[in-house]
Amino acid sequence: MSKPEFVYTTYIKTTPDKLWHALTDREFTHRYWMDCTLTSDWKAGSRMTMERGGEVKNECVILESDPPRKLSYSWVSIFDEDMKKEKPSRVTYVIEQRGDMVKLVVTHEGFADGSKTLPSVAIGWPMVLSSLKSILETGQPLILDPSKDA
């Protein structure tokens, strides 16, 4: 069992239901996710796409969906020829109520050896998670630079 490459934690003043909505609602994701729109019916086995400017950037498959506690999907970045050939990595969100806050732990793991996707997502996650926290707590996302690929 190889160890996860990334583990991110953020505490957000919100409820698990609102956080789940923020992670899965098509229009809402577009507001904070570096101009990306996430589309799926969020059922295990379903396809999920992350598109920007009408172009699919990442192809995902829902692996586990237990609202509002746990969500997991596979991830293949298809905007780059090399990344497209890599085996899918896996993203997992674990949501836990902590008093008036919600603890969100995001794990991204299972990257191919020498993965090109890995450094690419390492740049994106802190931006996306800070923006997610900001939009849920203040109603405003952070202004992110969409020229970088998620």
Binding site: K3, P4, Y8, D145
Partner: protein, 104 residues
């Protein structure tokens, strides 16, 4: 945010973050390896870093792995760095890095 600044205001704790930045997901023993700090001191520093959410830990089999969590640092940056400044700051950091490397 106070907790983040307090946690960062210590060279030993910044060193531990540097080590996780170089290699993410280390056990306490791996983090202690080659350091002039006792295991107790490293444990204490890790607890402060975890409380500030700069380090997040994960149970992996029987091991506890420590990860650098850059999310709070990113939030600090976002608070004072405006969008149009980011590109210029990145260029300046790169210039500083290159010039300092040349002096070595």
């Amino acid at each position: 945010m106070d907790e983040v600044f307090k946690a960062l205001a210590d060279g030993s704790r910044r060193l531990l973050l540097d080590r996780l930045h170089a290699r993410n997901g280390q056990t306490l023993l791996e983090l202690c390896d080659g350091l002039a700090m006792t295991r107790q001191a490293v444990t204490k520093h890790l607890a402060i870093l975890e409380a500030a959410n700069l380090v997040t830990s994960l149970k992996h089999g029987r091991e506890k792995l420590h990860y650098l969590n850059p999310v709070p640092i990113h939030e600090i940056g976002e608070r004072w760095i405006r969008k149009f400044e980011r590109g210029k700051l990145a260029a300046l950091s790169e210039l500083k890095r290159k010039l300092e490397k040349r002096d070595e």
